[in-house]
């Protein structure tokens, strides 16, 4: 019902806009019509920006192309039409600071910080999860707010790294609580602190049958050469100086490997280049590269995985007999699972992962549910009759859950609202009443607050 009202409201708004600008030049009117043709919030926002960029009748100079006719009566009408603040102000994010580690402290909770865009940008090189991508599209400059979990996760990571203990952390929490965003914030912090970072924003892509696979009898698993090559290329593009300084502690020794295999003492970057060049060797190269990075202690190494629950279920790949392949029978997921369960240790650094409830085909299964002691916000609790796989229980052993709070704090929500207001991303002029009502309606859930609270209202 509410969605029907929104649609009717949008149609009415669109018609009103078109009626108001009937006098304009055909090209401008066509541009506006094209901009408002769709019913999505993003296209409506584009229309708003087009309108905002149109100079009002009183400010139009004779030299600039005027969208208004020359008659004085029409000029007066147009002046009245563009008086609303929404049509005059443009998005202004110049006051927003860029994410820096020093700015993340107790006193700055609720402060909105833009993701840095200097090269190499990990968000561009590794990509971002789909849900985060949709939220990035809402604003002109991707941002996040400093939250209490940001501080505590950072502290947890530092403590674990200093004590040298096993640090395999999984960020858990209900849908829309900000797990992927927290992971992104931590990655940005680690990149700025000169960690070597390997980030998989969509672990589902390792198991959803979108990359080539071939059986390898020596490892009795299915290799994923293109996926391995992609991860190697992303690590190379990050351009960390450690890859050029660290050297191999062992030869790359595989029988019948193509010529040019790097030897002990050569730099890691040469191993990566070899894996990119010889794609058939990429899975083995990736395995050795991660082993070298995990065993060295000069540079901390972060293995970050989003959609972590996808690794603990059957993949969509099939054997030649059309039987489903388990994820630990694929080379890349098996490698990640071995780091997750502690078979392969990261001596200086951490494995940091986040669950995701966005894709209903890949919800957390029984083994990961019980290993992390999840609650009902992660789906139905498994009962005594659900099958449990010993293999996945082995791979889920020893994981530590980092629980996200269910609600945003008021300061954090206010920080989000400020950014969206300055960005003219909202359909209305926000007031305190609007803010508090949407905060209460969404129960402080970040995704609900933004999408079904702020973006879905026509209140003014």
């Amino acid at each position: 019902m509410f969605q029907v009202k929104i649609r009717i409201g949008l149609v009415a708004a669109k018609l009103q806009l078109l009626r108001l600008y009937r006098m304009h030049r055909r090209s401008a009117a066509n541009a506006l019509s094209k901009a408002t043709r769709g019913f999505t919030k993003r296209e409506f926002k584009t229309a708003q920006r087009l309108l905002a960029s149109v100079p009002s009748g009183s400010k139009a100079t004779p030299s600039s192309p005027s969208l208004f006719s020359n008659t004085s009566t029409q000029k007066r009408q147009d002046d009245q039409m563009l008086l609303h603040p929404l049509y005059r102000e443009v998005a202004d994010q110049t006051s927003m600071q860029v994410f820096e580690s020093e700015l993340v402290n107790e006193g700055n909770i609720g402060l909105a910080l833009a993701f840095p865009s200097k090269t190499p940008d990990p968000l561009r090189i590794f990509g971002i999860p789909k849900s985060v991508e949709k939220t990035f599209d809402l604003v002109t400059r991707p941002f996040s707010v400093v939250r209490r979990p940001t501080l505590s996760l950072r502290q947890t990571l530092e403590n674990a790294r200093k004590s040298g203990s096993d640090n395999r952390i999984v960020i858990t929490g209900g849908a829309g609580t900000g797990k992927s965003y927290l992971l992104l914030q931590t990655i940005i912090h680690c990149v700025a602190s000169n960690w070597i970072v390997l980030y998989l924003p969509r672990a589902i892509d390792t198991v959803n049958c979108t990359t080539p696979y071939n059986y390898e009898p020596r490892t009795q698993t299915f290799l994923q050469p293109m996926l391995s090559e992609k991860l190697l290329r992303q690590l190379r593009d990050m351009g960390h100086s450690g890859l050029k300084k660290l050297t191999l502690t062992n030869d790359f020794a595989i029988d019948s490997a193509p010529p040019g295999a790097p030897k002990k003492g050569q730099r890691l970057i040469e191993l990566i280049e070899y894996g990119i060049l010889e794609v058939s060797m990429a899975p083995f190269v990736l395995e050795q590269l991660l082993a070298e990075l995990a065993s060295q202690t000069q540079y901390p190494f972060l293995l970050a995985i989003d959609d972590f629950q996808a690794l603990y279920s059957q993949s969509q790949y099939k054997t030649p007999q059309f039987e489903p392949i388990e994820s630990f029978h694929l080379s890349v997921p098996r490698l990640l699972l071995e780091y997750a369960c502690g078979s392969r240790k990261i001596h200086n650094g951490a494995l940091l992962s986040a669950l995701s409830m966005s894709n209903t085909s890949w919800l957390p299964k029984t083994e990961i549910y019980e290993a992390l002691n999840l609650d009902l916000t992660h789906g139905k609790r498994p009962d005594a009759w659900d099958k449990r796989s010993e293999a996945y229980q082995h791979y889920a052993a020893g994981l530590k859950a980092f629980r996200m709070p269910e609600r945003l704090e008021i300061k954090e929500a206010a920080g989000i609202l400020d950014v969206m207001k300055n960005d003219r991303a909202l359909l209305s002029d926000p007031s305190d009443q609007l803010f508090l009502s949407k905060y209460c309606e969404s129960n402080g859930n970040p995704k609900e607050f933004v999408w079904r609270g702020l973006m879905a209202t026509l209140d003014s």
């Binding site: 009898p217 020596r218 595989i254 030649p320 007999q321 059309f322 078979s343 392969r344 293999a391 791979y395």
Partner: protein, 188 residues
């Protein structure tokens, strides 16, 4: 456009959908064929390598001649190949050099053919793809079936010859499709 057995398959679809453009292949069979040839079914058709396209054509030209594939042995979580890195304590309890990487033995010792021959592994329920027919073979089979019915003078044969519905539908009205398509030399 990718051409397989003379049929132009659209580039706009993933392999498991594009293969249904071949007469005789539906959604399920397309997925099974992709699995058998180890083509990832969500692959865009343009991303298929020439070797994969050749393998597809070779298989579909003569499915009965394709070799039986043995069931592939798959590694348990505790399986360790000879080549492994940075494993602190393998579950077997044997002490190993932490960063030792040993060479994998030559391929001939662990080849698939040798394993199948030695261990005589079964193929499970049998290779269901050996009896499939596609394109011209399937059309010929359909025509032969209709001709057989006509030759032995069955009801089905007579209805095909008259161009009327075969399966007991009404003819007082409708039956347009049957009048158009039901022939002794049916297109298939």
């Amino acid at each position: 456009m990718v051409y397989i057995m003379g049929v132009a398959l659209s580039d706009a679809y993933p392999a498991k959908i594009a293969l249904t453009g071949i007469y005789g292949i539906g959604r399920t069979l397309a997925r099974r064929i992709c699995a058998r040839l180890q083509i990832h079914e969500n692959a865009p058709l343009t991303s298929l390598t020439p070797q994969q396209t050749t393998a597809l054509t070779a298989f579909l030209s003569a499915p009965a001649n394709a070799p039986l594939l043995p069931k592939l042995p798959l590694a348990s979580p505790h399986f360790r190949p000879n080549f492994h890195t940075n494993l602190v304590a393998p579950p077997t309890g044997k002490a190993t050099n932490t960063n030792a990487i040993k060479a994998i033995p030559p391929k001939s010792e662990t080849s698939l053919a040798a394993r199948a021959q030695n261990e005589q592994q079964s193929v499970g329920l049998g290779d269901r793809l050996r009896n499939i027919k596609v394109e011209t073979d399937l059309r010929r089979a359909v025509r032969e079936n209709i001709m057989h019915h006509r030759l032995v003078n069955t009801y089905i044969g007579r209805r095909h010859a008259m161009g009327l519905p075969v399966r007991g539908q009404r003819t007082n009205s409708n039956a347009k499709t049957a009048r158009r398509l039901n022939k002794l030399e049916r297109r298939g």
